[in-house]
């Protein structure tokens, strides 16, 4: 098996492999199911994280800066999912479809509500200090999520 054939096996492919039970001791090495890459490029967070820098948070239009803040601090829990979205799943359970579970899909958020949760937390989500999300960052985040 060439190195080239061992490719990232993620997403749907891994679910298939989870089901593969190998009980044959001494099976040929080639039996190990390294699978070809099948993953689609996910829409967002890690690529966005990689672009997120302090400079990005300090510059640009409010909504653009707010997007950087969201990617930096919020998206690991509140991405659109299904991965990296324990917060989104939690909101799905809470609202049962009455409101969008992903914060970026909400149209009812206000700056006051966003500040309330960032500075007070909710359930397992802790609050954020001003050395993490400054007041200016918070305003930008609100501009991004409210627009």
């Amino acid at each position: 098996m060439s190195t080239r054939r061992i490719a990232a096996n993620v997403g749907a492919a891994s679910a298939a492999i989870v089901g593969a039970v190998v009980t044959v001791v001494g099976a040929a090495l080639a039996a190990i199911p390294f699978s070809p890459a099948v993953a689609q490029d996910a829409p967002f967070p890690i690529a966005a994280w990689s672009r997120t820098t302090a400079a990005a948070e300090d510059a640009g239009a409010p909504a653009e800066r707010g997007a950087a803040v969201f990617n930096n601090w919020c998206s690991a829990c509140h991405s659109r999912g299904p991965l990296n979205a324990p917060g989104t799943t939690s909101l799905q359970n809470k609202y049962q479809g009455a409101l969008p579970a992903a914060l970026e899909d909400r149209t009812d958020l206000t700056a006051e509500v966003i500040e309330l949760y960032v500075r007070n937390g909710i359930a397992t989500m802790p609050f954020f200090r001003k050395t993490e999300i400054s007041d200016a960052d918070l305003a930008a985040l609100a501009a991004y999520l409210v627009e």
């Binding site: 993620v10 190998v22 001494g26 993953a39 672009r51 990296n84 359970n93 802790p126």
Partner: protein, 532 residues
């Protein structure tokens, strides 16, 4: 103006904060109730009670020189400081001080990645650098080195290492304190030291050779209050050619004895390179009354009782997860040898759960389901909160006893702690242990915390009973929440607390005014002993 720490007059406190403002800028001294409240322990087991630990103010310097100036001022007024790095040591105390009234020294703004050396496979960072920051930096710059991240991954390299946390990848990386190489510390008197080879200013090996010359002192700056660490070097893992994540399941409860013996041997031989998790799909998350009865029986339920119950569930009792990193041919041989070693356990099943070659594209990395095993920080651990039957709480503490990696001990621990939960009318939370150290298993129990006193009182009783009982059984903890650190150190009381006396002897020598984190890990300066 906020209230001063105990023993400090309002006038002196105001003067000290005013002088600190001149050092760091007014913007970076937080004094309002709303701002200081952000330094509460979000998962506090004392939330809203009179004994909850509060800061009096917070100060956020941007440089080593600012820290040194603040420390000198603190010494003049005997002002207690409580340094935090990213402040995300949630479940162990968060950003709240041990000693109420301390001024939190928030180092989050010091978030520079000072160096990443791809050839040496090392980095040097400041305290505010989070796992996410470092991961993004490596990806953005196409540096094919991995971090080892805590899980959840919202903390930082320095803070987690100093509290001796751990992760998932190779043996040289997942014990985060062990993975450090070189540090810089502002001492309590404002002096600045570099440890290891860093003390030799021209040395090219600060992040490569740990010891330097003379006594090796790095250890005293972990789980302690002897100084403020301002830089740390770490060894990073070279991105492997490939990785294969696997699971090994065994059907019966008692099968964990040969399973752990085998896994331990394979880890000691470095056949299995990664952290190894051994957890029970049977015990995980169910409130089934029969299961709760078995789990809280205190060990009176027989193996036959457990086997009957397990057989009816159609799931194995234990599932072990680990991962191989390296060249694919080597991985294949390691996996084959692993299967050979464990094949004699009746009913054992071997599964490959995911395979990878590297580098991953952004999309592929994003879609990795078990990110920390590939050094990718994640908060997905919180998904457990959304599982069917989960018992939501506002937060939790980690109770983290250490056992030898022997199945008999794991079963005994599950029986012992299960009964403690049951006696308090709670469903046991323990589902298994993990080995981020090579020769011990940490058996994390999530102990829920709430935003109400009644439930938290029960939590505190549970936690203290777990600590004391497990210590009596030979399973003391490796790390403990700030509120329980005095209790924790009592559990290390050989020779009438000789170790604790030594800690405080050091404190008197290195921080006579007690300005750095008084009370952390129960180390108090002389003037506060017996009073705080």
């Amino acid at each position: 103006m906020p209230n001063p720490p105990p023993g400090l007059s309002q006038r002196d406190f105001n003067t000290a904060l005013g002088r600190i403002e001149e050092v760091v800028g007014r913007e970076w001294v937080f004094k309002s109730d709303a701002d200081v409240a952000l330094y509460r322990d979000a998962y506090s087991p004392l939330w809203g009670e009179s004994e909850e630990r509060f800061a009096s103010a917070a100060v956020a310097p941007i440089s080593v020189e600012e820290i040194r100036a603040v420390v000198r001022i603190a010494n003049e007024y005997r002002l207690p400081l409580y340094p935090i790095s990213t402040g995300r040591n949630l479940t162990y105390g968060g950003s709240a001080p041990v000693y109420s009234g301390s001024v939190v020294l928030d180092l989050k703004r010091m978030n520079r990645i000072l160096d990443v050396n791809e050839r040496d496979k090392t980095c040097l960072v400041e305290p505010g650098v989070s796992y996410f920051d470092m991961y993004r930096h490596l990806r953005t710059n196409n540096i094919r080195l991995w971090i080892d991240t805590a899980d959840p991954g919202w903390g930082g390299l320095i803070g987690n290492a100093l509290d001796r946390g751990g992760g998932y990848t190779g043996i040289d990386y997942r014990d985060h304190f062990d993975a450090h190489c070189g540090m810089e510390v502002v001492l309590a008197n404002g002096d600045l030291v570099r440890l290891g080879m860093g003390a030799s200013p021209q040395a090219k090996t600060w992040q490569l050779f740990k010891y330097g010359l003379g006594p090796w002192l790095d250890g005293i700056f972990s789980q302690s209050n002897f100084g403020i660490v301002t830089k740390m070097g770490f060894w990073l893992m070279e991105e492997p050619e490939a990785a294969l994540q696997v699971s090994v399941t065994v059907p019966k409860r008692r099968d964990v004895v040969p399973l752990l013996d085998g896994l331990h041997s394979l880890m000691c031989a470095h056949t299995i390179p990664s952290q190894t998790t051994v957890a029970s799909p049977i015990m995980n998350g169910s409130a089934d009354p029969e299961l709760v009865r078995l789990r809280t029986s205190g060990g009176t339920a027989s193996d036959a009782d457990w086997d009957r119950y397990t057989a009816a569930q159609g799931r194995p009792f234990w599932s072990s997860a680990f991962i191989y990193y390296g060249a694919q041919k080597v991985i294949a041989a390691q996996w084959e040898h692993t299967k050979d070693r464990l094949a004699s356990i009746a009913g054992v099943q071997f599964r490959e759960t995911a395979s990878y070659t590297f580098p991953l594209s952004d999309g592929q990395a994003e879609a990795v389901p078990d990110k920390p095993r590939l050094g990718i920080p994640s908060l997905n651990l919180f998904s457990s909160r959304n599982a069917p039957g989960a018992q939501p709480s506002e937060g939790h503490l980690d109770f983290s006893p250490m056992i030898p990696p022997r199945g008999e001990e794991l079963i005994a621990l599950a029986d012992t702690t299960g009964k403690i939960y049951g006696d308090l009318g709670l469903i046991p939370t323990f589902v298994g242990g993990l080995m981020f150290h090579p020769r011990t298993m940490i058996c994390f129990h999530a102990v829920p915390t709430y935003r109400n006193a009644a439930d938290n009182q029960r939590t505190r009783r549970l936690f203290e009973t777990l600590v004391r009982t497990c210590t009596d059984r030979g399973w003391p903890i490796y790390r403990i929440h700030a509120h329980f650190q005095a209790l924790g150190m009592q559990m290390f009381g050989f020779n009438d607390g000789a170790l604790h006396r030594l800690h405080e002897t050091l404190k008197d020598a290195i921080d006579p005014n007690g300005v750095v984190s008084p009370g952390r890990y129960s180390i108090w300066p002389k003037h506060l002993r017996g009073r705080a």
